[in-house]
Each structure stands twice: as structure tokens, then as C-alpha cells.
């Protein structure tokens, strides 16, 4: 398969996916549209995390913090500067991106595990810093975005493909519209010179540096871009829930994101969609499983299978044992089957 036919295939897949996403809200309930909005925003966040972790090889356990920065930027701009919610999204991304660049600098000196733990430290500190900066963030009470419908999608009437949108449909289109644009941008970035520098850094820092890649610039750029994505996702989460407080972005969020990235598959652009679906739907499925399972077991056994946490954890472990490279890795393994005897590489 030549590079050109592959590009054509990829573009066709992209167009089909976009069309499917545009039509989907007609066939699902309002509630499902809200769930899918969450899948979309986690897709953005995991995509961003994948840029820094999957493509550049820097493990970050602190991306929940960048989501928090994005979410709070949106909330503060809406409540204090009375901006329309949509316009706060790029600003939220930029603020988080700058924070990411600022963090990328010290991160240069840390590698592997130490970086993972340093970023984890940031994730852990964020809620207490937010609580402390009460004047700006509202402290423990948080910031309420209800009651200002004129600044949200509630204040406008939008029609898509001849259908007037409900608020959840509007959230869905907003989120996935942004997700598609950011997906395309990530695709372009990774196919560019910078993308090659990312992968070279991941595969061998020494080899990359001796081929003229500036490790400092590359890692900082990757961190910045990835924090931008997380910031946008955090902003969308704030708009969707119409409320932010320190618990909107808990420590567990950072872990959830990295789980999503691993389940989706590192170094894959389509994988994050699976990861995002896992993040949103797995807890729901685990809960449902708990409600139905457990007949004919002793009391303690029933308590165990009825515990969503246990079911979730078992599924996660088994999934990682069966698919160590995630869903994206599975696709990667299937790809050679489609390819006729070829020697081309990525």
C-alpha cells in the first residue's frame, strides 16, 4: 500500500466518522447526548495526554490539574468578566497551555518515573491550592454557572441539519465539533517535523539529541500542546456541568485520564476514543453488573461482586493483561493484515 492510498483510506475513515458523529444525536435520547458530550471531552483530554505520553514518552500523572486550570478559567471568565461560554474555551486552553509550558521547563530535568511522580504531586496539590485561592475560585463552595443562561447555549437557538437543538444536543455538537478540529490538528502536528521530533525523543533521547533534535524545545512543546488540550477538555466539563468546585477535578481524574490513555493505546490517534468511552461507560457498566449479578453466592461473595469498584478493577486488569498495547495497539496489529506485502514503515 502506498503512502497515497493510505492517506486516502485515512481521510475516508475520517469523513465517515465525522458524518456519523453529526447524525448520531437524531437517534439517541437527550440523556445519551449528554453522556456522549462527556465522551467527547475525555477524548480531547486523552488525545492531549497521548501527545505527551504516547508520542513523546513523558508520563504525566497530573493532567487533571491542567483540566482544572481550564475549567476554572472558563468559570472565572463567565462569572467575573461575563463572557459567553464558547469564547472562554480557547482562552481556557491557552491558560492551561501556558501552565503546561511553564511546567515543561522544570520537567526537562526529570525523566521517566521522577517526572511521573512530580506530575502526580501537582495533581495532588491542585485541590488544596484551589481551596486556598478563595477570592478567585470561590474556595470550597466553588463557582456556579447556573442562572446565567444568556451566557450559555441555553440563551441561543441553534439548528443543525434542520433540527432545533436541546441544551444537551448543543453540548454534544460543541464538544465533538471542537474534538474533531483538535483531532485534525493533532494529526497534522504529529505528521510534521515536530511529530517526528516527539517520536524520536520517545524512542531514544540520546539518539534524538545527536540527530539535532532539541530535547528541551521538543519536550516543552509537547507539554504545552498537551496541556492546551486538557485545558479545553476541562473548560467543556465546566460548561457541561455548569458548576466547578475542587471536587469537579479530583486527584482521581488524573489517574482516570492515564487509565483512558493506556486502555485506548499509546501512540495511537484513534485509540483515545476507546479510552474516553471506557472512562465514561465502564463505571456505569460496573454498577449495572453489580445490580444484576450475585445470585446464589454467600453474603460476602455477593458483596464483592456487587461492588462496582471491584468489577471495574478486575476488568481494567484483565484488559491490560489481554491488550497490553490498548485498543489502538489491537488496531495496529490488525493493520498489517490489510496491507499487501509492503516494506513501508511509519
Amino acid at each position: 500500500m502506498t503512502a497515497r492510498t493510505r492517506l486516502a483510506l485515512q481521510l475516508t475513515g475520517f469523513v465517515v466518522a465525522v458524518a456519523a458523529l453529526a447524525l448520531l444525536p437524531r437517534y439517541v435520547s437527550d440523556f445519551r447526548a449528554f453522556e456522549l458530550h462527556k465522551v467527547g471531552l475525555f477524548f480531547v483530554a486523552v488525545l492531549g495526554l497521548n501527545v505527551v505520553t504516547g508520542y513523546t514518552g513523558q508520563i504525566s500523572l497530573g493532567h487533571g490539574a491542567f483540566m482544572a486550570i481550564g475549567g476554572y478559567t472558563t468559570a472565572i471568565l463567565m462569572t467575573k468578566a461575563h463572557l459567553q461560554d464558547v469564547w472562554t474555551i480557547p482562552l481556557a486552553g491557552l491558560v492551561a497551555g501556558v501552565a503546561g509550558l511553564a511546567f515543561g521547563l522544570p520537567a526537562l530535568r526529570l525523566s521517566g518515573l521522577y517526572l511521573a511522580l512530580a506530575t502526580f504531586g501537582i495533581a495532588i496539590s491542585t485541590p488544596s491550592v484551589i481551596r486556598r485561592a478563595e477570592g478567585l475560585t470561590g474556595g470550597t463552595t466553588g463557582l456556579n454557572l447556573f442562572g446565567i443562561p444568556e451566557q450559555t447555549g441555553l440563551g441561543i437557538e441553534v439548528e443543525v441539519l434542520g433540527r432545533t437543538l436541546t441544551f444537551n444536543d448543543w453540548l454534544y455538537y460543541l464538544t465533538w465539533g471542537i474534538a474533531i478540529v483538535l483531532f485534525a490538528l493533532a494529526w497534522a502536528l504529529l505528521a510534521s517535523r515536530h511529530g517526528r521530533a516527539f517520536r524520536a525523543t520517545r524512542d531514544s533521547e540520546v539518539a534524538a539529541a545527536s540527530s539535532g533534535v532539541s530535547l528541551a524545545a521538543t519536550k516543552t512543546l509537547a507539554f504545552g500542546v498537551s496541556a492546551f488540550y486538557a485545558g479545553v477538555a476541562g473548560s467543556l466539563l465546566a460548561i457541561g456541568t455548569a458548576f466547578v468546585d475542587p471536587n469537579t477535578y479530583p486527584i482521581a481524574l488524573s489517574i482516570t485520564l492515564i487509565v483512558g490513555a493506556a486502555v485506548g493505546g499509546l501512540g495511537s490517534l484513534v485509540g483515545p476514543a476507546f479510552g474516553a468511552a471506557f472512562i465514561v461507560y465502564m463505571p456505569i457498566l460496573a454498577e449495572r453488573f453489580g445490580n444484576e449479578a450475585g445470585g446464589g453466592l454467600p453474603a460476602w461473595g455477593e458483596r464483592i461482586v456487587k461492588s462496582p469498584a471491584v468489577v471495574y478493577a478486575v476488568v481494567l486488569i484483565v484488559l491490560m493483561l489481554v491488550l497490553p498495547a490498548g485498543a489502538g495497539g489491537l488496531l495496529g496489529r490488525a493493520a498489517p493484515l490489510l496491507r499487501r506485502r509492503s516494506v513501508d514503515t511509519v
Binding site: A116, L117, A118, G121, A262, A309, Y312, A313, L321
Partner: protein, 293 residues
């Protein structure tokens, strides 16, 4: 000044607990190159087992010994069942497996024993004794003593026994160790078993003060991570020094830097840690990684 020393001793006591858990992390990291995010939950789970044994009427020390044995077997089993299959997988996959393990143990403990807080009997009394004008609780001294004994025993084991040598060899150079007849696979499992045992000790030492509940080890695991990183992930001495230092610094910051207050205690401690890492990215006692291209 007396107050200062009192705070230092209290810091050493919590530091001793961080040190044991940090040591467990380092042990696993050195043998299997895995950062074990489940270490805290493993400790919590074994502490629950000790509690259940005592609840059935066993005395403290028999329950203690039995728990250590069970923890060891459990650690070996975990390595065999879930860690072995992902041995060659990317680092992140292994990290996610240990995170899954942590969630699993947490969920199991909550399902079996419930999430309400239980009190855990201490081996030592909380009575204060006078040491050179400084009032120190027997509990704190006991914790420091147990952690120190543990470290010394472990050091003797690694330094002077054949098994200890085999364990170190398997960690440093698995291929050549295999050639000279070391059963590398079992050595790795043994490393996990020992780590689980260390975790159990840390859990039982800390349970009387933080009380027993499924989330009791969360913060402590974080401090242990910080301690291990501070000392250098591949240095057992570093883990112990890092643990003690972190405990003392944390206690002093809490007592003397009033403006910081309780809410920002953790971020400040972590910022200090980050600062150390920026100067010495490999930790205080760690060796800088040298890799071949």
C-alpha cells in the same frame, strides 16, 4: 528547644513508617522495575487481615506474625498472577496494572469489611516518657525502633545471605544470573513477597494513629513515594533517609510555618521535593541512569 526536639521525634516516628513503605517501593522497583501504585493498598489490606485475626481472639503478636506470613504469600501470588504476564510490556501498562490492583484491593476491603473506621490496637502504649527533658511517647519510640530493626534485618539479609545475593544479582543482571543458576523468576516473586511483608509492618504500625479504613494508606503512600524519590528510587539507604527526612520536614513545616496552615502542608512538602529533584534529578542517593543507544 524542647518543643523542637519533640517535633523532631514525632517526625521521625511518622518518617519511620514512610521509610518502611518507601523501602518496599524501592525493593519492588529494583527487582522488577515496577513502580507499585498498589503498595499502599496492599499494606491496608494486610492490616485488615491482622484486625480480623485479632477480632477472632488472637493476641497481638501471634496475629502480627501470621499476617506477615500471609502478606508474604500474597505478595508472591500477586507477582505470579498479574505482574508476570506484563513483564515485557511498556512501563505505562505495568503502572496501570498496579493502579488496577490498588483499586481492586480497596474495593475488596470495603466490600468485605465495610468502610466504617475501625480502631486498631497498638503494640505500644501511648504513655509519654522523659528522655533528657524531652517528652516522647512510647508509641513513637516503638515505631522508630521497629522500622530500624526492619531495615537492619533487611540489610543483613541482602548483604550476608546467599538468597540475598541471588536477589541482588537477579535485579542487576537477569540474563547472566540465569546462566549461573539463579531462578530469576522466583527472585522477582520473592522481591514482591518481601515488599508486601514490609508494607504489612508499615500498615500495622500506622493503623493505631490513622485508624483502620480502606483509604487509610492513600496519603501515606504518597509520602512514601516522595521519600523514595527524594532518596533515589534505586537506593534502599536513600529510601530510609528520605523517609525519615520527609517525616521530620513535614512535621516542622506544619508546626513552625504558621501562615501555611494545614491546607497547604502537602503542596509545600511536594514543592520542596520538586526543588530537590531539580537540583538532583536522580534523587539524593540514586545513581544517574546511563543508557546505551
Amino acid at each position: 528547644v524542647t518543643d523542637f526536639f519533640q517535633q523532631v521525634v514525632a517526625g521521625l516516628a511518622s518518617g519511620g513508617i514512610y521509610a518502611s513503605l518507601a523501602l518496599a517501593l524501592v525493593l519492588i522497583y529494583r527487582t522488577t522495575r515496577v513502580v507499585n501504585f498498589a503498595q499502599g493498598e496492599m499494606a491496608m489490606f494486610t492490616t485488615f487481615i491482622a484486625w480480623a485475626l485479632m477480632d477472632r481472639g488472637l493476641g497481638f503478636w501471634p496475629a502480627f506474625a501470621l499476617t506477615l506470613a500471609l502478606a508474604f504469600v500474597g505478595g508472591v501470588a500477586i507477582e505470579r498472577v498479574v505482574i508476570r504476564p506484563v513483564e515485557g510490556a511498556p512501563v505505562l501498562t505495568v503502572v496501570i496494572v498496579t493502579i488496577g490492583l490498588a483499586l481492586l484491593l480497596n474495593g475488596l476491603a470495603a466490600a468485605i469489611w465495610g468502610s466504617e473506621v475501625k480502631s486498631f490496637r497498638s503494640a505500644f502504649s501511648t504513655r509519654a516518657i522523659d528522655v533528657g527533658g524531652v517528652a516522647v511517647s512510647v508509641q513513637d519510640l516503638g515505631v522508630i525502633a521497629v522500622s530500624l530493626v526492619l531495615v537492619v534485618v533487611l540489610w543483613l539479609f541482602f548483604r550476608f545471605t546467599k538468597l540475598g545475593l541471588a536477589l541482588r544479582a537477579a535485579a542487576v543482571n537477569p540474563d547472566e544470573s540465569r546462566l549461573v543458576g539463579v531462578r530469576v523468576g522466583w527472585m522477582l516473586a520473592l522481591g514482591w513477597g518481601l515488599a508486601a511483608l514490609l508494607g504489612a509492618v508499615a500498615g500495622m504500625l500506622v493503623a493505631p494513629t490513622v485508624f483502620l479504613e480502606p483509604n487509610m494508606m492513600r496519603a501515606i503512600l504518597l509520602y512514601a513515594f516522595a521519600a523514595a524519590v527524594l532518596g533515589g528510587m534505586d537506593s534502599p539507604v536513600g529510601a530510609v533517609v528520605g523517609g525519615l527526612a520527609f517525616g521530620v520536614i513535614q512535621n516542622l513545616v506544619e508546626t513552625y510555618v504558621e501562615e501555611i496552615g494545614a491546607t497547604l502542608r502537602l503542596p509545600v512538602a511536594l514543592a520542596l521535593l520538586l526543588l530537590v529533584l531539580l537540583v538532583r534529578p536522580q534523587g539524593l542517593f540514586g545513581r544517574a541512569a546511563v543508557s546505551r543507544v
